[in-house]
């Protein structure tokens, strides 16, 4: 499963609230601690990736946050400017006053333009070998397919022009399973699982990108085995419960109640997990990250998640 870190471009997606950015940040951190030069790019424009490394927000210009770990935030207008400057040497760029507005308008009117500039910038970083690995904190699963399919869609919609001429090499990078992969993050809950299954199908049908892994986040620990469960059940009833109260000098019922909740939660989630496993192609690796009982989030949490990811990947 090491291959995930050997890719050049990894898109990390998932339903809102499942920990997509956490996993993307941890994956980038893990790769950088293994000596890779990594760029993490935030496409979702919430501006919180840097927060996972306890650094101030980054802009379009990349910034090294930790050794070998660079961060940037996607800005399609800046991407267009960079592109025009690099490729066309259009001097007119500087002189166009309302370029921003014009661009905004064109991008709104012509679907796919924004997406292609995002994917284009990412593919460009890969093609130019600026980094060993580019990790993308991609849009949520509802929007990622549109983004990944943009080069193809542009091919269909736009017959000529600058954008059209650029889609071929992007498609080459995106379609190469040794270069590009998609990681779907979910939690063992009903909606995230369903969305992941739908996503896997859509990615297969509508894009040329390979689903490289499904990461199941916030997996609750298993408290007991079958035999121990019986001990637990007996412990929770009189006369054992009364004896336990007496021995610990307090009400053990509360503590047992919490364990009961934990067991039920895990059981409900296990059913969703089964459903996920049954409906995701057996060839796609599944990784499991534990629920973190921590006080807060920040670099420490990102490190913890990176360590768990490392274990799953066999590091």
């Amino acid at each position: 499963m090491n291959s995930l870190l050997d890719l050049k471009l990894v898109f990390v997606t998932g339903k809102g609230g499942v920990g997509k950015t956490t996993v993307a940040s941890a994956l980038a951190l893990l790769a950088s601690t293994h000596g890779k030069r990594v760029l993490i790019c935030e496409v979702d424009a919430k501006g919180d990736v840097a927060g996972f490394y306890e650094a101030p927000p980054t802009g379009f210009k990349e910034k090294e946050l930790l050794p070998g770990l660079f961060s940037m935030t996607m800005d399609t207008e800046a991407s267009l400017r960079e592109y025009l400057k690099l490729q066309l040497r259009i001097p007119v760029v500087g002189r166009i006053g309302p370029l921003a507005k014009a661009f905004d308008f064109v991008a709104t009117a012509a679907p796919g333009v924004r997406e292609i500039l995002t994917v284009g910038k990412l593919c460009y970083e890969v093609r130019e070998h600026h980094y060993d690995l580019v990790v993308v904190d991609a849009p949520a699963s509802g929007h990622i397919v549109g983004q990944l399919a943009a080069p193809q869609a542009i091919n269909d919609l736009v017959k000529v022009g600058l954008i059209r001429s650029q889609t071929d090499w992007m498609l080459d990078i995106l379609s190469d399973p040794l270069a590009t992969g998609l990681v779907a993050v979910c939690t063992p809950e009903e909606m995230p699982v369903n969305e992941t299954i739908e996503l896997a199908a859509r990615v297969r049908e509508e894009t040329t990108v390979q689903l490289s892994a499904v990461v199941v986040n916030r997996v609750l620990p298993e408290l007991f085995g079958r035999q121990e469960e019986e001990v637990f059940a007996t412990l929770g009833r009189p006369p054992a419960l009364e004896l336990l109260d007496e021995l610990v000098g307090g009400e053990a019922g509360t503590v047992l109640e919490a364990a009961r909740l934990a067991v039920t939660m895990r059981r409900t989630r296990a059913a969703h997990l089964d459903h996920l496993r049954r409906n995701i192609d057996g060839g796609v690796p599944m990784m499991y990250l534990p629920y973190l009982f921590t006080r807060s989030h920040g670099l420490r949490t990102t490190r913890q998640v990176a360590a768990s990811l490392g274990e799953e990947l066999g590091y």
């Binding site: 166009i96 679907p111 736009v158 000529v160 637990f232 919490a258 364990a259």
Partner: protein
Amino acid sequence: MTPPGGGSMDGLLATKEIVVACGPGGVGKTTTAAAAAVMAAVRHGSKVLVLTVDPARRLADALGLDGIGNTEHRVPDAAFRRAGLKPRGQLWAAMLDTKESWDALIRRHAPDQQTRNEILANPLYQNISGRFVQSHDYIAMERLYEIHSEGDYDLIVVDTPPTRNALDFLGAPGRMADFFSSRLLRWLIVPYRSRVVNLATKPFYQVADRILGTEFLADISEFFILFQSMYDGFVERSESVGRLMADRRTTFVVVSTLEAVPLREAEFFAEQLTSRRLHLGAIVLNKVLPDYLRDPDGAAVAESMKERAGELAPRLAPCLARVDPAIADTDQVARVLAEVADSYLNFQVVALREMEERAMLSVVPDVLATVPFFDTDIYDLAGLVRLGEQIWE
């Protein structure tokens, strides 16, 4: 308990005509909206519609939405009876189909049959209506406006689409109006009509042409020329939608959990509502861990159980064996004691953090509802009522 602002969820649902549930993804927004609608139908005797965007399959089943789509559909009384409920009012439900709603909008605003057909068949239109992300935001508000102005319901509870930025849909009517009244739109259309390009607009065409190619630009222009015929109706409509959102009859319910990231987003959202002079009716905090996890006595007991597991196990084992002779392994009993205690202490960390987050909430609404974690998923009317009752408390 009377909340700080004196409001109550009951009062909110009894007096408002539109309740918009919003907030970050993955916090139970859809379920909360459905629960509020069910409660209003059961308790108030109102005719209630829940307009939902992306319900879980089983929730859709519970509301009888499977395969129903865009049309409003009454949840049969039999479904309530099966859940042991006798509603005083009626519950209706509809799912939002973006594409269908857009088509309906075009049909309404198109000046004639030919324009209508040309727009519906235009590839750019199909792209915008089906894929254009922001169009979901707009159409949800637009559909809400349409249903509200028809006046069939006492209360409409609407669930908002999961947007990247929780604010997107608030700005959607305004953005849509801006978009169609834009000067750039006129620039784009003019040359293909009159072929007159003035100096001011020339650089714009140069760039647009090089990026998109002349042919595509022509496609865009054609599309907008068609669209322009609907311009007045469209802009007027967008403005009406915006006004309805700000109306006193409309209230917003922000849904979140007490996890740091979604809560920050919800807070930001609540602040934005206030600064836009929209009515923040309530904040609903979902999936909150139970109170007993924060009990200091519980922690003391758990710590004692954890530390003394090895010593307690042999003393408990005979008692356990009397009830269930299969329990013979003292080490196993010790392991269970330690696991149970550990689990309590783990969850306590999270439960305490949650309360800290709640105490630090920067926006205090009239109604602040805390809903406990349900150990099973909610997927039927009885479950929605169970959730609703918690929101009401």
